[in-house]
């Protein structure tokens, strides 16, 4: 059956692609603009400029996403395929996941600006890098997990049929990791908006750096104290989040269904209008046609890298010698790193800073605990209610998803106006600011958990006329528990990160500061004191790791063994 040569659908798709290309070309041109004041793009708060700023922000987050995917492919494959690499790479990833990304910004900005002097490109790289660090770890873990749990017989078939390393990667490894990668990519991307907004306007060492973007637009509006312009920017932001979901993530999620390994269909097929449109159109196949020979060339060029195979036996002494060399090199690097760190701190901030950080970190920890506890009390009952009603959750789920993706930092000005009016100290207000972004993870997951409780069990509870207490204790709470744990750990992570921007805020001529590790890091960044920044990051990572080990890990295990449906 041949499709007609040109249909109305094709026109739509063609126009969309043309616009996209045009936009990217226009933006690419402006990326490397160098002006006299290279690092302070003048941000005009005229709303007419907003589309341009929004496009710049959008390009930034997509570049960061692309880099995260490349990083994930390399890092996850190395960790999954090499025994020695795994020993080093997985613990590193585990730690990186707990590091507050915003704290890093001071260091990376300085580094990248030195790399591209006199150009906006350095600042652009720093912002992209910050967004990248917020997305990459999660996706890498997901792909690593998919690779090590790959079905044995698929691995055997790939080796048996003598696929090359390259072919195996694209035919087996990427497709079998696809579903996890898309879902985690979507969640990470949602988180990335926050870091996008936070990284476009920053001050390091008494200098303020700005990049044209929606985040810096809001920052400029806040400086002017113009709450109306902040409101418009927020509207644009909502359109961006919803739009990217509609044109990019929904189609991708629906497309990824193709890569489900279980050969039976999943119960509910994700649908996407955009994907259907693309499938109707013949343009994608026109684009794919010239790419096929390119793929074949790549297959051939990568052939010398060898088969996705390994010798069954290798001489014992060779393996031993490799292990010894590897252990020696790794050990030496660690010892050297620790030594350099100790020397660095001894000569700069001094170790007394660590004690101070531990104390301040405890204050922030209390805030994080309050955020999680209060969000739990508020959102668990509401989330369960929504999740148990299929009709409600169908409407609520996308809204909550947008709320979770929306960079809460853009809402801070409104909150600050209220704090100022009420004369509320930021010591308490910071809790509210931290909760603005992180609470949604709990709601989101609880809804998902409640709607996953099987209908039969709900009907059983109705049929036996469970009183509400029993219903909660024996059906709802155990049912949502595993989901709640996921939501809780994400919310806590988000709150830690948010503390760096929430414990010290500026609105117009008002400066509010709260005591805490987040404020400490932010102040050290403003001063340009890298030793203090580093001490703050180390201590914050330490708190995150300890809480994860002592609280969330055991809860996870309990959820997996006892409460998985």
């Amino acid at each position: 059956m041949r499709r007609p040569r040109f249909s109305p659908v094709d026109v739509v798709v063609f126009v969309a692609i043309a616009l996209l290309l045009f936009g990217i070309l226009r933006l690419a041109h402006s990326l490397n603009s160098s002006s006299a004041s290279a690092h302070v793009a003048v941000i005009s708060t005229d709303p007419a400029n907003l589309p341009y700023y929004a496009a710049r922000s959008l390009l930034r987050i997509f570049i960061a996403f692309f880099l995260s995917v490349v990083f994930t492919f390399i890092y996850a494959t190395a960790a999954a395929r090499s025994r020695r690499a795994r020993i080093v790479l997985i613990p590193i990833l585990d730690i990186l996941q707990s590091v507050p990304i915003l704290g890093f910004l001071a260091i990376t900005v300085t580094f990248f600006i030195a790399l591209f002097p006199g150009s906006e490109l350095g600042l652009e790289c720093a912002a992209i890098f910050a967004i990248f660090t917020s997305m990459a770890w999660n996706m890498t873990f997901s792909m690593y997990h998919s690779l090590i749990t790959q079905p044995v017989e698929l691995d055997e078939a790939a080796r048996m049929f003598r696929l090359t390393k390259w072919e195996r990667f694209w035919r087996l490894d990427v497709p079998s990791s696809m579903i996890g990668l898309v879902w985690n990519g979507m969640l990470s991307f949602g988180g990335g908006w926050f870091f996008l907004a936070a990284s476009e306007a920053i001050s390091v060492g008494n200098k303020t750096y700005t990049l044209p973007g929606i985040g810096s637009y809001v920052a400029a509006a806040v400086d002017k104290g113009d709450i109306g312009e902040v409101g418009i920017a927020i509207g644009v932001m909502v359109i961006l989040v919803v739009g990217v979901n509609f044109v990019f993530w929904r189609p991708l999620v629906a497309y990824a269904e193709k890569f489900r390994v279980e050969t039976s269909e999943s119960a509910e097929q994700p649908k996407s209008y955009v994907l259907n449109l693309l499938r109707e159109s013949s343009i994608p196949s026109y684009i794919a046609k010239p790419l096929k020979p390119a793929g074949r060339v790549l297959d051939r060029v990568t052939r010398p890298f060898g088969l996705a195979e390994y010798p069954l036996r290798s001489p014992e002494y060779k393996r031993r010698a490799g292990d010894v060399v590897f252990a020696a090199v790794t050990g030496a690097v660690i010892v050297w790193g620790v030594y350099r760190g100790v020397v660095y701190f001894a000569h700069t901030a001094g170790f007394g800073q660590f004690a101070r950080c531990l104390y301040l970190g405890f204050i922030t920890l209390v805030r994080v605990i309050v955020v999680v506890a209060v969000s739990t009390v508020i959102w668990v009952p509401i989330g369960a209610k929504i999740g148990l009603s299929p009709r409600l959750s169908r409407y609520a789920q996308p809204v909550v998803q947008v709320l979770a993706s929306f960079p809460a930092i853009l809402l801070f000005p409104f909150a600050i106006v209220i704090f100022l009016a009420l004369h509320l100290s930021l010591d308490y207000g910071a809790i509210f600011l931290m909760a603005l972004g992180s609470q949604w993870y709990i709601l989101f997951n609880v809804i998902a958990g409640a709607s996953a409780i099987p209908t039969e069990l709900r009907e059983m509870a109705d049929q036996f006329r469970f009183p509400w207490k029993q219903r909660w204790r024996e059906l709802i709470l155990p049912g949502i528990f595993p989901y709640y744990v996921t939501g809780g750990i994400t919310a806590a992570g988000g709150a830690w990160n948010a503390s760096i921007v929430a414990e010290i805020v500026t609105y117009g001529k008002h400066h509010l500061v709260a005591g805490g590790l987040g404020a400490y890091i932010a102040q050290a960044t403003a001063k340009g004191d890298f030793a203090e920044v580093l001490a703050g990051i180390v201590v914050m990572s330490f708190y995150v790791v300890v809480v994860n080990r002592l609280l969330w890990r055991p809860l996870y295990r309990l959820a997996e063994t006892r409460y998985s449906l």
Partner: protein, 451 residues
């Protein structure tokens, strides 16, 4: 032949060139307790051009492990596998494999799946497509080229598995229980088609090695049947099936051969020369030497019930056919009945004992008591657990204690499966109970014990 093989070969060695040679291969895995767990012991085998060889064995005979050693997917602990005289150290270049679970890539179409091996061999696209389409045609998948595996039935999926393997024209085709995931009719259909292709002159491969636990399948397909014993897998016997093709399942010679193999596979392991020949009463033996067959009490009672209705005595192959049970379904239940003294097996016939008859015909409470007595006396692991629980003050012990002991002789999964079976039996007989919350085994107090 240079290897010292027991002289049970029933005919002359085939004359075709040797494609694959397995030379004194042993394979052992390591138990979680760190002890070696032998799976295969000193197996030697040759595959010649022009023959179909079946590797037949019960579960635990290491037949799939042997096949993976031959395919070069895992390394034998000792011994070598050679392809055309060259020892292999990596995926065997001269074979292609058909998997039990098909192992198709769900994101590729039938045609792309079929082209997979050709692509890996850098066959140019045009030729690749031509050869794949030809093979798709031969294997009966015409019209399904653009379908994805998940749109196909099991039988059609396995056809793709065959097409993918045959299109690379391997010297030898390896098959790992290729029909066991299919329903009976589909399996029969696919088997017959494969055999008629094998009989044709254009068949792209020179020999077939098939792993199976289905005796009739082996007799229907193979020129030589290589029977492996279990725990660990050792060479047991080799049978030449010189029946004329196509083979008729209802022919008396066919049935006679199936019966003969049934007999070989159900007889007690013959003690090897040099080992003590006194038969140990299983109840007094160690749980490691007499593992519990993985059988639920319900399945056991069901089989005994049927046997009783059939007059208390039945030919095993007929019983298997009657229940459409394959040997891996039937033999564990038979072994359990034998272990508990509810049935006896002689010459491929199973006969209900007096205890067995009493167990079947009693009311529920009495039959529980009878079961408890039999399990405590004859099932080594149940007996060992009882003894251990009786020595403690509160009659409670952690499952970890038993798992650690079992892991000295079994793999982690098998140790768990052994304990699960013992718990099932112990609970049914009300000998002891198991509390999942904290993983404790609890002795049932004497006053409400059924036994």
């Amino acid at each position: 032949m240079t290897d010292q093989r027991p002289s049970t070969a029933f005919g002359p060695e085939p004359t075709g060139d040797v494609i694959l040679e397995v030379n004194h291969v042993s394979k052992s895995f390591t138990t979680p307790a760190g002890q070696p767990l032998p799976v295969l012991e000193d197996v030697s085998l040759r595959l010649h051009e022009g023959e179909i060889v079946a590797l037949l064995g019960k579960s635990g005979s290491g037949k799939s492990t042997l096949l993976r050693c031959i395919a070069g997917l895992i390394a034998p602990t000792t011994g070598t596998v050679s392809y055309r005289g060259t020892p292999i150290n990596g995926a065997n270049p001269g074979v292609a494999m058909v998997f039990q679970s098909f192992a198709l890539l769900p994101w590729l179409t039938v045609q792309a799946n079929t082209e997979l091996g050709l692509q890996a061999r850098a066959v140019p696209p045009a030729e690749r497509q031509k050869r794949a389409l030809e093979m798709i045609d031969v294997i009966g998948l015409d019209g399904f080229e653009e379908a994805y595996p998940k749109e196909l039935s099991g039988g059609m999926r396995q056809r793709v598995g065959f097409a993918r393997a045959l299109v690379v024209q391997p010297d030898a085709l390896l098959m790992d229980e290729p029909f066991s995931a299919l329903d009976v009719l589909t399996a029969e259909n696919l088997r017959t088609e494969l055999l008629s292709l094998w009989g044709g002159k254009d068949f792209p491969t020179k020999a077939i090695l098939i792993v199976t636990h289905n005796i009739e399948e082996a007799v229907q397909m193979a020129d030589r049947i290589f029977v492996l014993s279990s725990n660990p897998g050792r060479f047991k016997t080799e049978i030449n099936t010189d029946l004329a093709r196509p083979r008729d399942r209802r022919a008396p010679e066919f049935e006679a051969m199936v019966d003969r193999i049934y007999r070989i596979m159900t007889e007690r392991p013959t003690p090897e020369a040099g080992q003590q020949t006194t038969v140990v009463e299983p109840g007094l033996a160690s749980p490691r030497d007499y593992p519990l067959p993985h059988v639920s009490v319900g399945g056991l009672a069901g089989l005994l019930e049927i046997l009783n209705n059939l007059g208390g005595r039945e030919d095993l192959p007929r019983l298997g056919r009657l229940l459409t049970f394959e040997i891996d379904d039937l033999l564990p239940i038979v072994d359990a009945a034998k272990m508990l003294g509810f049935a006896e097996v002689a010459d491929a016939d199973i006969e209900l004992t007096a205890e067995g008859k009493a167990f079947v015909e009693a009311d529920i409470l009495t039959s529980k008591k009878l079961f408890a007595t039999a399990a405590a006396a004859h099932a080594p692991l149940v007996r060992a657990i009882l003894r251990a629980l009786e020595t403690t003050k509160d009659g409670t012990l952690s499952e970890r204690f038993f798992l650690d002991l079992l892991q000295g002789g079994f793999s982690q999964d098998e140790a768990q499966a052994q304990l699960d079976t013992a718990i099932d039996w112990g609970r049914y007989g009300e000998l002891f109970d198991y509390r999942a919350g904290d993983g404790q085994l609890i002795l049932t107090p004497a006053d409400d014990m059924a036994a």
